[in-house]
């Protein structure tokens, strides 16, 4: 869910960073990539400060709307999104940078507006980057621990993710079997995702 939710934002940010020239580009670049270098626990703590009941967004935006994010599954989604976002943006950006600028100019002179050009030229030609970014983010999300445990806690059936559950089972004396089972589930999911990625990539090469 975090990957799907981040996709439109990731694409938009990658588009801006690839095709728009503006002051403050470095600031945007740093902001986007910060979660990549910060320890996940720090990211989680900052999110807690921001989205918590006394936080800037929590107090002034979420509370008036009656929304409570912290220690809910939505917080886990947000934490995973923030931590994996730079990986997604980087991959999509790399995909976009390989598109010849004159293809975009050709599309515009042929009567396509910028949105039309994004949909009919940039999206299909950066699809590999989008796919790679999504897989990377999904994989990162699967292993996410630090930020999630801070903003979402470890509530079984509500916010407990696979890594959190494994942590809990490993900490309890009789949890080895369950921990191993969840490890196998993780491996299975990872293998399925990687095989799907490889299959889609090969299929696209054949279409080219």
């Amino acid at each position: 869910m975090a990957t799907l939710l981040s996709l439109p934002f990731g694409f938009a940010v990658a588009y801006i960073m690839t095709y728009k020239k503006f002051r403050g580009m470095v600031v945007l670049d740093v902001l986007v990539n910060l979660p990549l270098t910060l320890p996940p626990v720090v990211v989680g703590y900052l999110l807690l400060l921001l989205l918590g009941q006394n936080g800037l967004i929590g107090k002034w935006v979420l509370q008036p709307l009656g929304i409570r994010l912290i220690f809910s599954w939505k917080a886990a989604v947000i934490a995973t999104s923030v931590v994996g976002f730079p990986l997604m943006v980087r991959s999509i950006r790399t995909g976009m940078e390989t598109i010849d600028k004159q293809l975009i100019q050709a599309s515009r002179t042929l009567g396509a507006g910028w949105l039309d050009t994004i949909i009919t030229v940039i999206m299909p030609l950066s699809f590999r980057g989008v796919l790679a970014g999504s897989i990377l983010m999904f994989a990162r999300g699967l292993g996410e621990f630090g930020a999630t445990i801070i903003v979402a806690g470890n509530i079984p059936g509500v916010t407990q993710t696979i890594p959190l559950a494994i942590y809990e089972y490993v900490s309890s004396p009789s949890g080895d079997v369950m921990a191993m089972s969840l490890c196998l589930v993780s491996i299975t999911i990872s293998v399925i995702v990687l095989v799907f990625h490889e299959w889609l990539g090969r299929r696209m090469v054949r279409v080219d």
Partner: protein
């Protein structure tokens, strides 16, 4: 078409400052690499934004900084053919061709896919992927894609410079024919004098971001060749040869050229002005296979040499001789001369 252009644009260290009005349906923009030709056409097409000034096409402003007019690139209806084909790699040939057509207002769709396929001879390529086309086929599809967008004008931005010589002269007829058949005026950008002479009537000479002059393609050829070490070259469009003694005999005005080798039905030949030898009287015996009786219609200076325009049965040929030769032979406008040309002096282009 009338193009009224007065624009200033700064790009890093380059400054473009041009002010001109040019009329014609086959306009050339000539100049060396880096002189601002592509920036100029980018400004006209709307791909670059001028700092100030105006751009009017047939009296209609597509950009005017004082009137705050700036028609977006997609609404200017200016088709572009680039140096490389730049076909959309994820689309078929047909989808590439129809990309602009589908985005053209129904009322403006005068050129249809069927008309275009005939002219460009690309009917059998329609369902192929663009990565399975040869270089020449790709460029023909790129021309077709721009033409089918039914533009009010075409910008041909060095469309031949990435092609080798033989391919270049295969593409030129398609380029000319599609613009002629569908009556599309064009701007042709190139640093090749030969291409300029084949493709255009009037030419803007661009140097260092400024227009240094406006002239016919022929005047440009005389000016450039007069300054450089390369002598003036005659371009001859010849067709339907007869075979004679291992040579090709092409009709040229009232005369005939004998050219060594098997010439093509439709051929373009180069003939250097220094390969033409002038005689004041008919030489009794001469080894050259072509001897033409001509009148001198015009003479012009080319550095330390003189260009002599010869009228031969309604056709023009330029010979270049030394200044001293003009006095020695007493050559002046109106006099009759004989021009001798070897059959091997002609070089077929393409």
């Amino acid at each position: 078409m009338e193009l009224n252009f007065a624009v200033q644009k700064k790009l890093d260290k380059f400054f473009l400052d041009m002010d001109f009005v040019i009329k014609g349906d086959r306009i050339g923009i000539f100049g060396p690499s880096g002189c601002g030709k592509s920036t100029l056409v980018g400004l006209i097409a709307g791909l670059h934004h001028p700092d100030r000034g105006h751009i009017l096409i047939n009296g209609q402003a597509v950009f005017d900084s004082t009137e705050k007019v700036n028609i977006p690139v997609e609404h200017r209806r200016i088709g572009m053919v680039f140096q490389r084909p730049h076909l959309f790699p994820h689309l078929s040939v047909k989808a590439n061709l129809l990309y602009g057509y589908k985005r053209c207002a129904p009322g403006e769709r005068k050129i249809t896919l069927e008309n275009l396929l005939d002219v460009l001879q690309i009917g059998d390529l329609l369902h192929r992927g663009v990565n399975n086309l040869s270089g020449g086929e790709k460029q023909r599809v790129a021309i077709g894609r721009a033409v089918l967008s039914n533009p009010r004008m075409l910008i041909l931005d060095e469309p031949l410079s990435a092609l080798d010589d033989s391919l270049k002269f295969q593409i030129i007829p398609f380029l000319k024919k599609s613009c002629e058949v569908f009556s599309i005026p064009y701007l042709f950008i190139s640093h090749s004098l030969t291409e300029m002479r084949i493709m255009t009537e009037r030419v803007l000479n661009v140097v260092d971001g400024r227009v240094s002059g406006q002239m016919t393609a022929e005047e440009l050829a005389r000016e450039v060749m007069g300054k450089g070490p390369t002598p003036y070259v005659n371009l001859l469009h010849l067709n339907r040869p007869r075979r004679r003694d291992g040579m090709s005999a092409y009709r040229w005005g009232d005369s005939e050229f004998l050219i060594s080798g098997d010439g093509r039905d439709e051929a373009l030949y180069e003939l250097s002005s220094t390969d033409i030898i002038l005689f004041k009287r008919h030489p009794e015996a001469i080894s050259a296979r072509n001897l033409l009786k001509c009148h001198v219609s015009e003479m012009f200076e080319m550095g330390n040499r003189v260009g002599v325009v010869l009228m031969c049965g309604g056709e023009k040929l330029v010979a270049v001789i030394m200044k001293e030769t003009v006095n020695d032979m007493d050559i002046k406008e109106g006099v009759e001369v004989y021009a001798a040309i070897k059959a091997t002096a002609f070089r077929e282009l393409g």
